[in-house]
Every structure is written in C-alpha cells, then in structure tokens.
C-alpha cells in the first residue's frame, strides 16, 4: 500500500517522473539563446575583444556587470536559506531548496563571466601559477571558490533524504540516486549527523556569503577611481546582493509554481513574507545609494563630480534614473500594501528589482571607466551583438541549469515539508511557550535583583 505521505506530495515528484511538452519547448528556446551566446563567444575567441564594445578607457562592460550581478544573486540563496533555517522560520520549508539551487547555479555563471571577459582565456593558467595575493581580483577568486564549495555542500546535504526518497520511489536513474543517497535510511544516527552538518553549514555560509560580496566590492573600492573609492562599498554591495537575490528567488518560485502546479506549497503567505523582506531591502538599498551619492556630492572632488553628473544628467541618465525607479519607486509602490493581488504585486516588484539591480551594477562599472581620473579622453561604451549574445546566453544557461535540476531532483524539499507536518506544529508550540512569559504563577519565583 502506498504511503499516504507519498500521495500527498506526489506533485513534488511529478516533474521528475513525467516530462511534458512544455519542458522540451523550454529547453529548445533556452538552447537557442545559449547557441547565440556560444556563437558570440566563438566570434570573440576567434577575433579577439575587438568585436566587443570594450576599448580604452572602458575596458569593463557587460561582462563585469554580469559578474557582479550574478554573484550578487547568489546571496539569495544560501544566505536567505541559512538565516531562515537558523531562525527556525517555519515558512522556509518550501523555499530553501530553490534558494540553495539558485546560489550554486549563478555562482558558476558569475565566475564564468571572468573567463568570457578575458581576451586570452588560455592565460587563466597564469593566475593559477603566478597569481599575486596583493590583487583584490585574486581575493575574489579565493572567496568565490570558498563560497561555491560551501554552497555546493550546503545544497547537497539537505538533499540527501530527498534523494533517498527518489531512490525508493522513482523507477528511473536508480544508480544515480543510490549513489547520491549515501546509504540514507533515516536512522537516528544519520539524522543526527545530517542535522548537525546542516546547522554548522548554515552558520558557516553566512559570513562566507557576506565576505564574498564585500570582496567583489573591493575590486572597485581598492582602486583610486572616482566614485569607486568608497568605504561603504562593501555593505552597499552586500545589501544590493541580498536585494537582487530575494527578487530572483521570488521570480523562480513563481515560475515553478505555475509550471509544476505547486500552488499548494508556495502559497500567497510565502510571497507576502518575501515581499516584506524585499521592501525592507529596497529601503535599505535606497539608504545606501543616497549615502553613497551624498558623500560624493558633498566632497565635490572634480573627477568624482564628473562621474556624478554623467550619471545624473549626462549620457548615463536613463540608466541611473531607470535604476532608481525600478529598485525603489516600483517596489515600494507595489509592496507597501500587500492586502490584495499579493502575488501580482510581488512578481512586478521582483521583476523590476531584477532589472534595476542589473542597471545598478552597470551604472557602477561603466560611467567611472568612461570618465577616468587619468587624462584619457571620455569614453562611451556601446555593447555589440557579441555582448548581447553573451548576456542572453548567460541568463538562458542559468535558466536551463535550473530547469534540468528540477527534472532530476525535487525543487521543494520533500522531507522538510513532511517534517513540518509531522513534528513542526508540536515543535513550534513548545518553542512558543518557551518564548512567552509563564501564564501560571511561577513555582520557583526568584527574588527580583536590582542592577
């Protein structure tokens, strides 16, 4: 007889057991975009960076913007998942897996942007052989390696009980699931090991995630370039990363909710809570942006003011004001009242923030290089089809990785949902009682002590 828990969570296994026509259409469409990216890269590899819009003084354009953007999105994941786990937020259960998957996928895509940015990727070996730790670029390589390693382990460990479920239930890919399940039987000892490891990793990934984006900001702030040299760039980047990460997570949740019929798991309440987090991050992002630009304006250094006005009213004004509208105005308008049409409002805000945070990364990278401190002429950057192709290919590759993941593994943690049903309620009640002051007369009331 089938386990009743199985039939209840059949929707989570359905995408793995059956493949609809929509999957092939999606893969086909994404493959076309990836093909465009591949052709673009081949052209660049064959003919050199001259086929891009990169030149002197604007030597960083779309690729570095994408790098900072994707690494930022990775914070969605692990950071949100870890914080929700550590704070024992029960509504996390259907969310954590997607957040962790996003992290690992975008870290690969983000790190890949640096390879794409190299005109001579064969010279990558020189970094391995002769890298110098004086360079923040190498700090980046190290911290991203640490984050990627930790994130992969943090994704894999909580997946083990689910892989064991697949090993037991799904008829396909037996060897893969048997190997990855690591002999999971759900014994008391194994549960203890797993819970302890998840707890350690949850604590560990938070400082690693924060340090990664701080170090990404160091690539800019350790230079003497106008509008880059800033002491608040570290926290500013981290706030932006969490902000874009939450937005990307919400978009992914809504896509898979619709595609796989997960309405019973991803409910409006989840989007309401994430929407509130997004609103907080929007306000924080605005605060940091305001502080960043106010200090530059107040300092009134000529080179800085050149960049400042290039953003405010010069050639970059559409990007700057577009960023302000999409990162602040639209999210605040959508999220300040979430009474009705919660999902529509949260989706609009998240899409807006995803675009806005890409613009923010662009507006940090390019205007400064266009107006450098050194006596170069002013440079204007126009991306060519090669960079657009790489951009489309990168987003499509991320989406394809995610879609393929959902065909192999449950996109929502099955065991965490079951645990929530079986022991979560009782645990929450017990925990709640420990938070509250005792309602009955205390049996051993201690005498009140003054300071």
């Amino acid at each position: 007889m089938a386990d009743p828990a199985d039939t209840r969570d059949a929707a989570l296994l359905a995408p793995i057991e059956r493949t609809g026509r929509g999957f092939y259409w999606t893969v086909g469409l994404l493959s076309l975009l990836i093909l465009w990216g591949a052709v673009a890269y081949w052209t660049q590899f064959d003919e050199g960076l001259g086929v891009t819009g990169l030149h002197q003084p604007v030597s960083w354009g779309f690729y570095v913007t994408n790098f900072v953007f994707f690494i930022g999105i990775s914070h969605a994941g692990t950071l949100i998942s870890a914080i929700l786990r550590l704070s024992k937020a029960e509504w996390r259960r259907p969310i954590t897996r997607m957040a962790e998957v996003i992290t690992v996928m975008v870290l690969f895509i983000g790190a890949g942007q640096i390879l794409v940015d190299l005109g001579r990727p064969d010279r990558m070996m020189n970094i391995i052989r002769y890298g110098r730790y004086q360079s923040p670029l190498l700090w980046d390589a190290t911290s991203i390696s640490a984050y990627l390693t930790a994130s992969m382990i943090y994704l894999y460990i909580p997946m083990i009980p689910d892989i064991a479920i697949l090993r037991d239930r799904v008829r396909k890919r037996k060897l893969l699931y048997s190997v990855l399940a690591m002999g999971w039987t759900g014994s008391e000892h194994q549960q203890k090991v797993l819970n302890r490891a998840i707890a350690i990793m949850a604590v560990l990934v938070i400082p690693i995630a924060v340090s990664v984006h701080t170090v990404v900001s160091f690539v800019f702030s350790m230079t003497l370039q106008p509008m880059w040299r800033s002491t608040i760039f570290g926290p500013y980047f981290v706030v932006g990363a969490i902000f874009s990460g939450i937005a990307a997570l919400i978009v992914a949740m809504l896509v898979f909710r619709k595609a796989y019929g997960l309405h019973g798991y991803l409910k409006p309440i989840h989007f309401r809570y994430l929407g509130q987090l997004l609103l907080v991050m929007s306000l924080l992002w605005f605060y940091f942006t305001f502080a960043e630009y106010l200090t530059a304006y107040y300092g009134n250094e000529p080179e800085e003011m050149h960049v400042f006005w290039a953003k405010f009213s010069g050639p970059f004004w559409p990007f700057f004001w577009g960023m302000a509208v999409t990162n602040f105005v639209i999210p605040v308008l959508c999220l300040v009242r979430l009474g009705r049409h919660t999902i529509g409002k949260v989706l609009t805000a998240s899409l807006s923030v995803t675009v806005g945070m890409w613009l923010e990364r662009f507006i940090i990278v390019v205007p400064t290089l266009s107006n450098p401190r050194l006596p170069f002429g002013e440079g204007i950057y126009f991306p060519t089809w090669v960079e657009w192709g790489e951009l489309a290919g990168s987003f499509a590759l991320f989406a394809l990785f995610f879609v393929l993941f959902t065909k192999l593994f449950p996109v929502i943690s099955i065991w965490e949902i079951r645990e929530g049903r079986e022991v979560g309620l009782k645990e929450v009640e017990e925990r709640l009682l420990t938070y509250l002051p005792e309602t009955a007369e205390p049996r051993h009331a201690e005498p009140e002590r003054g300071w």
Binding site: A5, D168, M182, W184, G186, R196, M201, E419
Partner: protein, 92 residues
C-alpha cells in the same frame, strides 16, 4: 526527520550492485577531498611563490590565514557527513 521510505521497502532500494554504489560513494568523498585539497595546495603554492620572490608574502599569508581554515572547515563538514552516513549500520 521522517524516514524516506516509511521503513518498509529498504531492500528494494539497492537494485544497483551494492559494491559499485559503495565505491562510487567513497569516490565522491575522495573527489571532495581532492577538490578542496587542490585549492588549499594552490593557495600554499601562491604563498611559496610570493615568499621565494620576496613579493609581499605578508599579503599572501594574511589572506590564506583566513581562507585555508574556511576550506578545511567545509571539508571537515563534508567528510563528517560522508563518514557518518556511509559507516552507519543501524536499521540496514
């Protein structure tokens, strides 16, 4: 944490030859050690190069003092899980 199979059908799980599965599982553990070990070796190599060339070795040592323990901790957690699960004989 609920048992994955409800407890009743564990024998059915291991349709793939047990020894191959077990060898591949230890292979993953070994791969993890190799991957993280290689990164630690790389960092050590950069310190050695900086030291040999007198190229501000303090920067390399300073960064690696933070980085290497992080990698070792991650490796430790990974091995703890692999060892804890693969050597567990209860309920099997």
């Amino acid at each position: 944490m609920p048992s994955p199979s409800g407890g009743g059908d564990m024998r059915r799980l291991t349709s793939a030859p047990d020894r191959t599965v077990r060898a591949l599982q230890w292979g993953i553990a070994a791969g993890t050690v190799l991957f993280i070990g290689a990164i630690i070796l790389w960092i050590t190599h950069l310190i050695r190069t900086a030291w040999r060339l007198g190229d501000v070795p303090s920067a390399s040592i300073g960064i690696s003092l933070v980085a290497i323990p992080v990698f070792l901790t991650v490796l430790g957690v990974g091995l703890y899980v692999f060892w804890g699960l693969l050597t567990d004989r209860s309920e099997r």
